[in-house]
Structures are given as structure tokens and as C-alpha cells.
Symmetry: C2
Subunit: 236 residues, 2 copies
DNA sequence: TTCTGTGAACCATTTCACAGCT
DNA sequence: AGCTGTGAAATGGTTCACAGAA
């Protein structure tokens, strides 16, 4: 086991491997090889072995990986053996949609608070789990009381840096940001931005390329493989 | 002007540069240097010059870039001079939140249709713009009638591949996917996945590292810079 | 034999550093 | 003098290829 620094590309993939292992385990499968796993994601099998290799030797030569064991190891590595408590700043449509997203509980995340500065929203309770909406001025107090360790920024771009400063001041070290703004974070604080406009604009660039010009060949018929030159896929 | 193949990292940044240029233009600023631009995103200025250099020579030595001109050039490069018509599959909370997201119209995207297989939702109209919800069975017809060129997948993971197959069959070549599933796309079709669980799990990994262990130093006080060893930030 | 773990080779991306234009 | 455009160097990430364990 080394002590190199792990790239985010690797941790992203570990998360994806873990999800797949959970499904395989649910299907009653006991072992899996790096080759089989790689096929699920069209990835090179060496990539998977390298990713795991940063953290230890989890496999059995000639056999592959024991799914239950690897699952436990990856859960531990990703810090998902301890629960995380999430606060969402911005109780607009996106914020409330995220608050209601069920996929998170599987990974030991629970949304415990929303924040907004609209007095009409403060005091309300959102969604099936009745998550309370607090005044955005109370971020510091609620972060402490509720032991929030992850913040989600779902406010307009112009408010995002201010909100980030508030949650950093409250001691939150991990932030998922949906505001399309370039944020400056303190050292030791990790901000991960998901920018929908940029994602769409990158797709637009792809569509604007000659290689994708033959979207349909004159009528509505999809072009055949032979006509198309470019293939591409991105995760995250 | 070359004809190399452009990485998605570059197109992502072009989108971000463009947004910044739009703001600078709105503030009445006329020129900007790669150095000034770079400071906005804590990026190396050579990075910006390289990114632009793939597409032409847009700058003026000694002066920098004329904002209005570069804005027009980037808009054209990203294919944002032509409008894009977006269909969202899945009229759940995420799908409707996205349908109502205003940020997209600035980039010449308009959401023209939602799709669902819940009969209670089909026939409804969503949000301020009264976007119609169609039966998911009608994807092929509506894509043709409404000239949809970008699809957003906002359905549960188990349905995602099926939906992708449908939109590909309808001739859509650019897809933004929110389902946490590894999708297989045809050659010539670009799928971009935004995976919230993976984003959060990567943040969890960061929190689990010793270097971020001193979230607070015993009480609620944020750790000082000197105590913290790791800094990090990711866009997209 | 099969499949892991891992150096070495390869490829992609970023940064440096400077020639050359304005 | 200031700032772009771009080869060359440096860094980072992926794939190859194979020794060695089960």
C-alpha cells in the first residue's frame, strides 16, 4: 500500500465501481474480475487494477475480487462507512429537487437542512422527509447543531461566493456547487462545481463539428455506423 | 488555424471563458488579457492562449483580446449562434427543475418538451413557459416535429439505457444524462453523464483523508491556513 | 491456466519560456 | 514595453505487457 496522492478521476471511478459491486452483490454474484468489471464501463482492465492498487491488494490471482470484501473496502476508502449530513443552500426548484433525491441515502448521505433567504420559505418543511428550511442567516448555527459536513450550493451565481464564504466560515470542508460561477475557496476546502450550462455548451460544440453533421441522412433515418466518424462518451 | 482534435477539457473552458466575457462586456469593458482572464479561474494564462490557439489567432499582441470580438468567435465555435431545442425525458422533480432553469436561454437553448410515462403527467404543462409533457412513447414523433437536437435523461437508472436507445433511434446526437448508470451509446452520439452520487462520494473521500481531519480544531473554530495541507477545486 | 499487481511505455494535458508583433 | 502564439519541457493519466500467485 502506497501513499501517493490520488486523483479525482480515480475517486470518481471508485464510486462507480462501488455502485456496480452493490448491484452484483444484490444479484448474488460472489466474485468478479477486473476484466468483467471493465466491460461494464468500457474501460481498460488495467485501469481498474491500478485504481485499486493505490489502496492495497484486494484481489486473488486466478480468481478476481470477492465482491463482498471489495465492497466493504471501497466503502471504507470512500469514507462512506460514516454517515454524512448534508445542508442545501437555496430552496428553489433545484435545491428542493435535490433534497428529495432518494439515491443519496444508499450512500450514507442524508439531507438534514435547507436554507433560503425568502421569508415565505423559511419555516416550511420540504418533501417526504419534511426537511426543514432555515433562514440563510442561521447557517453557522444550524451547521453546528445539525453537524452538517457537506454543503450543496443551489443559489443564483451572483450569491454563490457569498454563500460559499458563509459555509466555509461555518467549518464545512466539502461543497458541491451548482452555481455557474468561478468560486474561490480557502485552502483545505474542496469545492466541486457541476455546471449544467457548460455541459450543454460542450455538447453544442460536438454538434457543431462536421463529423456530427450527418445527424440524419436527409430524412429522419439515423445515420449508419459507417457514415459516422466520431464516438464519444464522458462520465462526470 | 489547425485541425487537431479538441479535448472536452478545452471546450468546457471555452464555455467558461465565454460566460466571463459576457459579464465583462455587460460591465462595459473592451479588452482583456489572457493573464486577467486566467486570474478569474485560477488558471495558467498559457492555458487560455493554448485553448484559443486551437481555433485561430484572436488576440492582439501588446493589447490582449477585444471582448466583443472574442465573444462572437467563441459563440460561433461552440455552436451557440444557432438555437438548440432540448427535450427532457422524465418529468419528475429533477426534470421539471431543469425545465424551469432560466440560465439556459442565455446560451440559446430552449426546452421545448418533457416526456414521461405516467398518464397523470402526460398532457400537463410545466412551469412558467407551459412546456408540454408528452407520452414517452411519442419520443420519435415529437423529436421530429419539434426538431429536438439535445436530450436530457432524468429518469431512474434502470430506465436510462432504454430511454437512451429511444432518443438515439430518434436521431438525437447529444445527450446529457443524470441517471447514475453506465450507458452504451452508438458511434457518433455523445453522452455526457452528470452523476451526483459520484460527485458526493468523491467529496466524501476528500473528507476521509487525514489532511482534512482538522475540520475544526476541537471546538467550532475553522482551522487556520497553516494547519491545512491540502487545497482543491474542481470544475465539472 | 487464469487473473492480479505493477514497472515501463505511451499518450494527453499543462506549464514554461521566448520569439515576434503592435 | 506589453502581451500573444507556440515549440519544448514537464507533469499527469492510461495502457501495455509480463512476472508471479492461486
Amino acid at each position: 500500500m502506497k501513499r501517493e496522492k490520488i486523483s479525482e478521476l480515480t475517486t470518481n471511478r471508485l464510486s462507480v465501481y462501488l455502485r456496480c459491486l452493490n448491484e452484483l452483490a444484490a444479484a448474488g454474484i460472489k466474485t468478479v474480475s477486473s476484466q468483467e468489471l471493465a466491460e461494464q464501463f468500457n474501460l481498460n482492465s488495467a485501469q481498474i487494477r491500478k485504481d485499486l492498487g493505490y489502496f492495497g491488494e484486494f484481489g486473488v490471482r486466478g480468481t478476481g475480487y470477492y465482491i463482498e470484501d471489495l465492497r466493504a473496502d471501497l466503502t471504507k476508502i470512500l469514507g462512506l462507512d460514516k454517515p454524512h449530513r448534508v445542508g442545501i443552500i437555496g430552496a428553489g426548484r433545484l435545491g428542493t429537487a435535490l433534497a428529495n433525491y432518494n439515491g443519496l441515502s444508499k450512500s450514507n448521505f442524508s439531507v438534514v437542512a435547507l436554507f433560503d433567504n425568502d421569508p415565505n420559505k423559511v419555516g416550511e418543511h420540504v418533501g417526504h422527509d419534511r426537511i426543514p428550511v432555515f433562514d440563510a442567516k442561521k447557517i453557522a448555527k444550524v451547521v453546528r447543531d445539525e453537524q452538517i459536513d457537506v454543503a450543496v450550493i443551489a443559489v443564483p451565481a451572483r450569491a454563490a461566493q457569498r454563500v460559499l464564504n458563509q459555509v466555509m466560515a461555518a467549518g464545512v470542508k466539502a461543497i458541491l456547487n451548482f452555481a455557474p460561477a468561478p468560486l474561490k475557496a480557502r485552502l483545505g476546502v474542496k469545492v466541486r462545481t457541476v455546471d449544467l450550462t457548460t455541459s450543454l455548451e460542450s455538447l453544442s460544440y460536438f454538434l457543431a463539428q462536421p463529423s456530427s453533421a450527418l445527424v440524419t441522412n436527409g430524412n429522419g433515418v439515423p445515420a449508419s455506423r459507417a457514415e459516422i466518424t466520431q464516438a464519444d462518451q464522458t462520465t462526470l
